[in-house]
Subunit: 429 residues, 2 copies
């Protein structure tokens, strides 16, 4: 089982409860359990799940419950509903301060990337407020975002740094992620994204900034166990393929996993590099070559789609049909960030994926469960299957298609994290 | 002032309270009031609104409050926030039973319109369950949808019939709308859409069905004051231009307003017809000619955009830039319906409009306030302006752009309808 780095279970109240043996219970009489195990969505009608020690002990039809095994379990009649794995948001930037609604307005009035940059917009517009914010302000901002995400059914979320761009500041953002993960139910998976964009003070010293990432940020992140992975924004206007390779090879030498933002605007050959490095995922992928897709398929690199940012920036959709044909695993994420996708939840990306992107409902569900787990290098989440964590969502729905189909509201009824009911959730109106 | 037909104020508890003089109060210290009056969005920083008899008595800067006039008003310090008109959803089909998530799944797997129709899908797939549902079931379904809409800031919504397609059944749906309007705060504006699609039992008798609409449905609707307007789905696969003209001329003769679904798939000349008839709006408009746009502009017909359905059905966006150039007023609606857009709220259509459709943030806001009021033939709503109804929304935001920008959640904090706080709203997590 791949465990995330950077935090002892003993620090978390929820995990503490889990370790001491969270309540043993049996959920039964759900209309359908979506296990995301085996073939397709692994649907079980009239399903039941036995939870013990914060993990799934058994899943099957309500009629097949072994009463001798579940004798000590509290029985919870769900009275219908669709029970699924907790959602996994495998590409998210929740660690920032500031507000860029003004850029959104400018873009709607026809301003392009350059005009917005001239008006002080873009990633660096978030860097200033993030540097200026206190640790507590950043933590409060992050917790507010996680509350919305939990209400939408997310139980695990990636948390990229990348809005400070100083060594100490990037480390501080990873520490905010760690604190936020302990303060509420969603499990955060921190990623170092020091190579998000070149900060203004390094604009004529590209190499010096890459030196900073390689010589300071990565070693300290690894030594202090602050992140699971290192990410690079490999695209025109951000980092070159050679810079990306230098940074990610360094990350691997320090025992960290690697991934990259590639082909959002221009395909620089990132997919082939990530495949060579045995990376977790390539994200965005509006632009990608046949060779890139073949390399990803061969190396088992996940393609993470970000439809919110794609639609908001008016980019063409990624080549889903070809990625599917090549057998690349497809994940789907919010890309929560203040510039191109200020969205904490996954049901809307699922709707965009199944409409604008041409993904199937089954692909969208796997994209926020099993394949998202792969994209984070996790094999203990994303499925309702024995040995997996009991991260579960009960939806006011009967069929998988209803979640994207009902796109104007949330159908989440209850969420369990590690077998603990997140009881601070109120039922949506 | 154009008043809606079909219901006496005395029947509604909220309107009764209004008539007896709802509380007089003064909202002050909002970060910004968006009046939607005068030029553009009519923004007032540090704004205040004086409400009396359920209407706006005065709006201006907090510093300009006339204390002698507001002496008796209860003062409510908003402590910031964006205060806007209540949202108006001018194109919605909330009156139906049944679930078509299966069609959504089929479409995501590549099935086209014909394949879905062969599998029993399409509008007629909703007609069966709607005919079979009791009045109370239909009412309960509608109220559940309105609860979500209210939580999203909607205070007025159109309610089209069109999922029964028998004379008695269409009348029954309009009665459901009337009952639903009385049972909760959102004001429903019923529209007869008997000419939604040809029901199966008339498939070889087109003229006989149009006779039924013209000879039974419209006269009874008018006599019993059950709707404000009549709508026709004028497109390939639905009703021809000649049939549309016959139905809508009959509606006008009965004193009802007219509008039409036009150009969702094929432009049959509907915009010119609606302009000739002095209609309220043309809706969808993915396909429209220059001549059609000119006719709409000349006649003051509103163009109602439906981005949810457009994206879900993978249609090209309507020609927003040309409509703007011709000076056509642009409205924006949910198109809440079980087939192409099962969405009760307006903030997501606003996001799609400002990204995928190329509308500005200001156009999107006017599209769900002032222009939506025009599309419903109402001049007493859609603005925060003296004499207008005190339908107001307080948002957890400071700038207009924040609502579409934060597209994964709702920022609604409080809603007032006719000057009455809708206190059953809980604050979102």
């Amino acid at each position: 089982m791949c465990r995330r780095a950077g935090r002892g279970d003993s620090e978390s109240s929820i995990l503490r409860e889990t370790r001491n043996g969270a309540e043993e219970f049996l959920l039964h009489n759900s209309s359908m359990v979506m296990t995301c195990s085996g073939e397709g969505l692994g649907l079980i009608t009239d399903g039941a799940v036995h939870i013990k020690h914060g993990q799934v002990a058994w899943v099957g039809r309500s009629g097949d419950i072994d009463r001798s095994v579940t004798a000590n379990a509290r029985k919870i009649d769900l009275g219908g509903g669709l029970l699924t794995p907790g959602l996994i948001d495998s590409h998210a930037h929740p660690l920032f301060a500031g507000n860029r609604a003004n850029e959104f307005e400018m873009r709607s009035e026809g301003a392009d990337y350059l005009e917005i940059a001239k008006a002080g917009g873009g990633i660096n517009a978030t860097v200033g407020p993030t540097r200026d914010a206190s640790f507590d302000e950043l933590l409060a901002n992050t917790l507010a975002r996680l509350k919305i995400a939990l209400r939408g059914g997310t139980t695990t979320m990636e948390a990229k740094s990348g809005y400070d761009l100083r060594a100490s500041g990037e480390i501080r953002l990873l520490q905010v992620a760690q604190a936020a993960s302990l303060a509420q139910p969603i499990d955060l998976m921190p990623t170092l994204l020091g190579a998000h964009v070149l900060p203004p003070e390094y604009k004529d010293r590209r190499d010096a900034y890459v030196d900073l990432v390689v010589e300071k940020m990565i070693p300290q992140t690894a030594t202090e166990n602050l992140a699971d992975a290192v990410d690079v924004y490999c695209d025109e206007g951000a980092f070159t393929l050679a810079e990306t390779e230098r940074i990610l090879r360094c990350a691997k030498e320090h025992g960290l996993k690697v991934k990259a933002h590639v082909g959002q605007f221009v395909d620089l050959g990132g997919p082939e590099l990530i495949a060579d490095l045995g990376g977790l995922s390539c994200d965005h992928l509006e632009q990608i070559s046949e060779a890139g897709m073949q390399a990803m398929a061969r190396a088992g690199v996940v393609a993470t789609m970000l439809p919110g940012a794609c639609v908001q920036l008016k980019m063409p959709p990624p080549p889903v049909a070809q990625l599917r044909k090549h057998g690349v695993a497809l994940a789907l994420a919010s890309d929560l960030n203040p510039g191109s996708s200020n969205c904490e939840t996954l049901s809307l990306p699922m709707w965009l994926a199944t409409t604008h992107f041409g993904m199937t409902v089954a692909e969208a569900w796997l994209g926020v469960t099993r394949h998202a787990a792969c994209a984070l290098g996790r094999n203990d989440i994303g499925q309702v299957s024995p040995g997996h964590r009991a991260d579960l969502v009960l939806w006011d729905a009967e069929y998988p298609g209803e979640i994207p189909y009902r796109f104007g509201t949330t159908l989440v009824n209850r969420v369990w994290k590690d077998g603990v009911l997140c009881s601070d959730l109120v039922k949506h109106l």
